[in-house]
Symmetry: D2
Subunit: 341 residues, 4 copies
C-alpha cells in the first residue's frame, strides 16, 4: 500500500529532524525569542532579498491565514479570495470566526485576475451603498493555488498594482511555496513573492517540517504588538524553538528549494506515467499536486493498493482524484504506481 494522499503524510525531512535532535537539550527561551528563530528569520529575510522584513513563526496554515488576515484587516474590511480559495472553502469558517467576511470572486484554475478585483472594488466608489457592504481590504491569493496552478510574475505584478490602486494589501498564502517556486513553469523567485506582496508565508508543514509556517511582513508592516495579538488567538507556541530550529534547517544550504525541486521532479514523473497510461488531467498543474480524472471502477480496483484524495465527481462514472508528491515520495512508489494503473 502506497500513498499519494497529500504532502503531509510523512514526518519531517530527515535534515530537519536531525536538527531537532541535535538541539533538543539546549536551554532556550520560549515564545519565539530563541536564537534559532532569530537565525531562521535572518535566513528567510536574505532569501527574500528583503533585509527589513519581519518574520514570525506560526504552527499551521489555517491558523496563519486567520492570524494574518484578522490582524491586518481593519474593522469594516473583508478579504477578497477566489471562490475556491482555502480561506473561503476549506477552513471551516476560520476567517469568519474572527468577525471578517471572505468576499469571493470567480476566477479560472483557482486563480484570480486584476479585472476580477477591479470589477468587485469598483462597486465601492461612486455611490453610497457601499456603507452597507463589506469593504475589500486585502487580496488573498495562494501560490500555488488549490489546483496546483501558479501565477506568472506578470500576473502577480498586475494583481499587486490593481490591489494597491484600491488601497488593498496583497497576502500570498505559500502553504506549498516550495513547489510553486520550483515548478518548471515558474518565472517567479522568493524575492518576487516578497516584493509583490505585503505579507506572505513560507509553508513548512507541507514542505518538509513537522509543523510550522513562517509569516513574512515584507513592507515593515507587522501589526504593532503582534505577540499579544497572536497569543489571544491561541497561536503563540511556548516552545518556539520547535519552529525556529525547523525553519533554520529548511533555509540552510538550500534545503527548502531542494525539497520543492525534488517533489516537482517526482510530480513530473508521475504525470508522465498517467499520460503514458492514457489518463486525462482535470487541470494542467505544474506543481506537486496532480488532478487526474479516473474511472470509478478503476478507482475501486486501486483502493487497497494506493491512497489518493477524492476531489470531486467529474461525471456519472468518473471522479477527479488528487495525487500529491513530496520530499518523501520514492522512485519505488512511482514504479509500483505504474504497475497498477
Amino acid at each position: 500500500m502506497i500513498s499519494f494522499a497529500s504532502d503531509y503524510i510523512a514526518g519531517a525531512h530527515p535534515k530537519v529532524l536531525k536538527r531537532l535532535v541535535e538541539t533538543n537539550l539546549e536551554t532556550l527561551s520560549g515564545y519565539g525569542t530563541d536564537p534559532y528563530c532569530e537565525a531562521a528569520a535572518a535566513k528567510i529575510r536574505k532569501a527574500c532579498g528583503c533585509p527589513s522584513a519581519e518574520v514570525f513563526f506560526l504552527t499551521g496554515g489555517t491558523q496563519t491565514n486567520q492570524v494574518v488576515i484578522s490582524t491586518m484587516l481593519k474593522d469594516y474590511e473583508g478579504v477578497l479570495s477566489e471562490e475556491t480559495g482555502h480561506v473561503s472553502a476549506h477552513e471551516a469558517g476560520a476567517i469568519e470566526f474572527t468577525g471578517h467576511k471572505v468576499l469571493t470572486i470567480p476566477g479560472h484554475d483557482g486563480k484570480i485576475d486584476p479585472e476580477g478585483i477591479k470589477k468587485f472594488a469598483d462597486k465601492f466608489y461612486g455611490d453610497d451603498s457601499h456603507e452597507h457592504m463589506v469593504f475589500p481590504g486585502m487580496v488573498y491569493i495562494s501560490f500555488p493555488t488549490e489546483y496546483g496552478t501558479i501565477y506568472s510574475k506578470a500576473e502577480l505584478e498586475a494583481i499587486y498594482k490593481t490591489a494597491h490602486e484600491y488601497k488593498m494589501t496583497v497576502f500570498i498564502d505559500g502553504a506549498r511555496l516550495a513547489y510553486g517556486l520550483e515548478s518548471l513553469e515558474a518565472d517567479v523567485t522568493m524575492e518576487d513573492i516578497a516584493s509583490l506582496s505585503d505579507v506572505f508565508y513560507v509553508g513548512g508543514t507541507k514542505c518538509g517540517a513537522l509543523c510550522g509556517e513562517a509569516v513574512v511582513f515584507t513592507k515593515g508592516n507587522m501589526p504593532a504588538h503582534f505577540v499579544p495579538s497572536v497569543k489571544r488567538r491561541g497561536a503563540l507556541l511556548a516552545k518556539g524553538r520547535l519552529l525556529g530550529v525547523q525553519f533554520d534547517a529548511l533555509f540552510t544550504d538550500g534545503l527548502y528549494s531542494e525539497i520543492g525541486r525534488y517533489a516537482v521532479e517526482k510530480a513530473e514523473e508521475l504525470k508522465k506515467i498517467f499520460i503514458e497510461k492514457g489518463y486525462r488531467f482535470f487541470i494542467n498543474s505544474p506543481t506537486n499536486q496532480q488532478f487526474v480524472i479516473m474511472n470509478d471502477e478503476k478507482l475501486r480496483e486501486l483502493e487497497d493498493k494506493v491512497t489518493c484524495s477524492f476531489w470531486e465527481k467529474y461525471s456519472e462514472t468518473e471522479t477527479v482524484v488528487r495525487f500529491a508528491t513530496s520530499w518523501s515520495t520514492t522512485a519505488e512508489e512511482l514504479d509500483y504506481l505504474r504497475g497498477i494503473l
Copy 2:
C-alpha cells in the same frame, strides 16, 4: 549559566523524541486520525479509568483553554476563575477573543473554594437582575495552580459538587498535571481528576513534550462536530501524528508519572537548598515551581549565573522569583545553584 526559568526551556524528553524519530517515515493520515493518536487516547482513557472518555489533542495551553471553554460555554455564559487564573491573567484575552467573559472570584494561594463559587452563583437566583449579567457556566481551576499549589481530593469533590448544584461544569487545566499528581502532598490520582471534572487536559508542553495537550472529555460530553469547531479556531494540526506519537510515548511505561516524579524530587532538593541558605518562600508550593523571596542585590549578583523568572515585587528591596524544575533539571545544576546562593 544555568536556567530554572521555566519548565519549557528544553526540547522533548529523550524517550518522546526517540519515538518521533522512529516513526518519522511512516505514512500516516492527517488531522488526528492516525493510529498513534488512537493509541495515545486509549492509554489516556485507561490512565483515567474512564473507558468512555473522549480524548482530543491540541498544540498549546492557551489554545486548549480557548477551544475548550468557548466550545463548552453557552452563548450567554462566562467562565469562573480565581483572579490569578491563567485564563484571566496571562492569555492576552484569549477567552474574551471568543466572546466570553472570564468572571473572577478571589481565592487564596491561587485556589478557589466552594464558598466563593456559591457566593458568586447565588446572585443568579432570586431576582431578575442577572439577565443583565454574564451567567457563570463553568468553573475553571488549574491543577497545580499558577502558584504551584494543589487541591486535595476533598477540595475537588466539594468544588465539583457545588459547581454542579449551580449547573456549572468543571474544567481542570492540567498544563502541569504531572507535577501535581506526583507532588508528595497529593492525595489525588488521574482517575480522581477525571471523575471530579467534566473536562480536563493533560499537559504535554510543560511535562516533556515539544508541544501538545490532551483534552479529556470525561462524561461523554465532547461538543458535537468538534473537529470543525477546532478547525475554525485555527487549532487543528495537519500532522496530528506529532501530538499522537508524543502522547503515546508519554503514556507508555509510566513515562508521564516518571517525569512528574523526577521534577518534584528535584524541586524538593531545590527547596532544601534555599532553606539551608536561609531564604524565605513567598508561598508553600509542593510542586515543581518554587517562589523564593530574594534580595534585589543578590538577584543582580546572580544575573549572569542563573536564570529564573521575575514574579512580582515583594518589598522595596526584595523580589519574588520563580525557580522551576523539570525532567531536564540535573544534579549538577542544583549543586551549582547551592554554590552561588
Copy 3:
C-alpha cells in the same frame, strides 16, 4: 419634489404614533416586560395561529437578522442564503461579525429553491471533507425578497421540507412582510409563514413603525436565556414600550394588513403608470418595490423632481432604479409622477 426612495422615508403610521402619544405618560417597566409588549405578542401569536409561539421585539432589521441567526446557529454552522440575500450583501458583514459564515447559493429573482439547498447540503454527506467546511445549519429567505418577489405556498413548503431533511432550520426575514402577504399574487397567509418556518420576523420599520421588528419563534424554540443573549449583542431596548406600543397598534383592527394592502395598491397604480409610459421593468415584482429600467438621460432630468433608489447599471445608457410605495404614498404623488415621466 416627491420621493419613492424607500419605504422608510416617513415616520410612523398616524395610528401607531397616536398610541405612542396616548401611552406616553404611563409608568411602565423596562426591557420588554410591559403590558403593551405582552399584548402585542398575544395579538401576533393569534395572527400566526400559533398560540405557543414566543415573540420578542427588536429595533431594526440587520440587528434582528444578526441576533436570530447567531443565537440559533451552532458553533460550527453557517447560514444558507441566496447570493443577493440581505444578510449576504447589505449588512456590512453583521453575520460574520458574530463569527458565522453566510453560505451563498445562486437563485433566480432573489429566490432559492429546494434543488439549490439540496445540491449544497449533499456535499456534507458521504465523505469526510465536510469537517473542514462550514456546515449549513439554517436556511435564510426573505418574504418578499430584495427584488420584491414572493414565494408561493408550495415553494415555501418544499423549502421547509428540504431544509428539515438536512437538519436545517428555516428563518424567514419579513422586513417587508406586510407587502408580501397583501400582494395580489400571494397565496400565503401569516399562519403559513409561521407554520413553514422555525423563526421569522414581522417587519415594523418598513411597514408603518418608527422602528421595531417582532421575532416569532414558531416552534417553542426560542434560545434559552434569550434576554442576556440579546443584551450582550447590544440589542435590548431599555424602553421596550416603544416597540410594544407600536406593534400593539399595528396588530389592532387589522392595521398591519391595511398598511400592506394600501402600499401594494399604490404599487400597482405606479406599475400601470410606468407601463402606460412605455417603461420596462427589470423584474416582475408583485409587491411595494418596483424596479424600472430607465434611460440615464431621463434619470438626470427627473433628478430634482422625484427621488428613487439607484439599483444597478443595466446597460451603457440605462440604469435600474427602485420605486417603493408605503402607507405614506399619496394619490397626488402618483399623479405628479405620471406628469413627469
Copy 4:
C-alpha cells in the same frame, strides 16, 4: 401605586414627543443623513464648545458602549473600568462579545482615580510579561457613576492626564449626563466633559428621550468608515430621524439642562423626605439616583404602594434600594411618598 424604579419608566419628555409628532410626515432620508440629525449634531457641538467634534446617534446605552469601545480599541487592547462600572457588571458581557476584555480596578463610590490607573498601567512597562496580558487601551468612566456620584473637574483632569501619559484614551459614559451636569455639587460643564475625554456620549434614553444616545468624538477621532462599523454591529437605525428629531428637541432652548435640573431638584426633595423620616443613605449621591438603606419589614409594607429598585442586601434585616427621579417625577408623588414612609 407610584414608581421611583428608574429614570426610564415614562415615555418621552412632552416637548420631545411633540417634535416627533410635528415632523412625522416629512419625507426624510435614512440612516442618520437627515437634516434633524445634522441640526442636533450642530447643537451638541455648540453645547460642547467643540466645533470640530463628530456626533453620531445610536439607540441605547449598552449598544453605545459596545460600539464605541470595540471600534476605538486596538486588537490587543482592553478597556479599564471600575469594578462596578456598567460595562463590567451590567451589560451581560457586551464588550467581551466583541472580543475585548474589561480590565477592572477597584475604586470608591463607583469612581476610579489616577493612582489606580497608574498602578495598573505600570505593569505594562519595564518587563516583557505584558505580552501575555491585555493592554489597557482606554479608560472608561461614567458621569454620573452607577452610584450616582460625580467626578470633580480636578478629578477628571487628573484622570485624563494620567490616561494619556499611558497612551490610553478616555471614554465618558454619559447615560445620565444631564443629572450629573445639573447636580448641585457639579463643577463640570459639558464643555469640560468634551475637553477632558476623547469620546463621550450624551444620554437620551434616561434623560427624556424614547431612546437614543449621542456619541461625541471630541478630538476629530471618529474611527474611519464608522457607518459600516456601526452597521455590522447591528446598530445602524434605518429611520435615523427618530434619534435626530429627539436630540434636536433636547438641545433646543436648553431642554436637556432643564430636564437634568428638574430631576435633581426632585431628588433633593426626596432626600430631605428620607432624612426627615430618619432613614440612612448607602452612599451620598448628588444626582437623581438615591440609595436608601431600608428595613426589610418596611420594604414589604411599601411593596404595593411604591416601586423602587433592589440594589443589594445591606444586613440581615436591611436592604439598599434605589429611588430615581426624572422629568416625569411629580410633586404629588413626593407628597404621597412622604405619607407612607
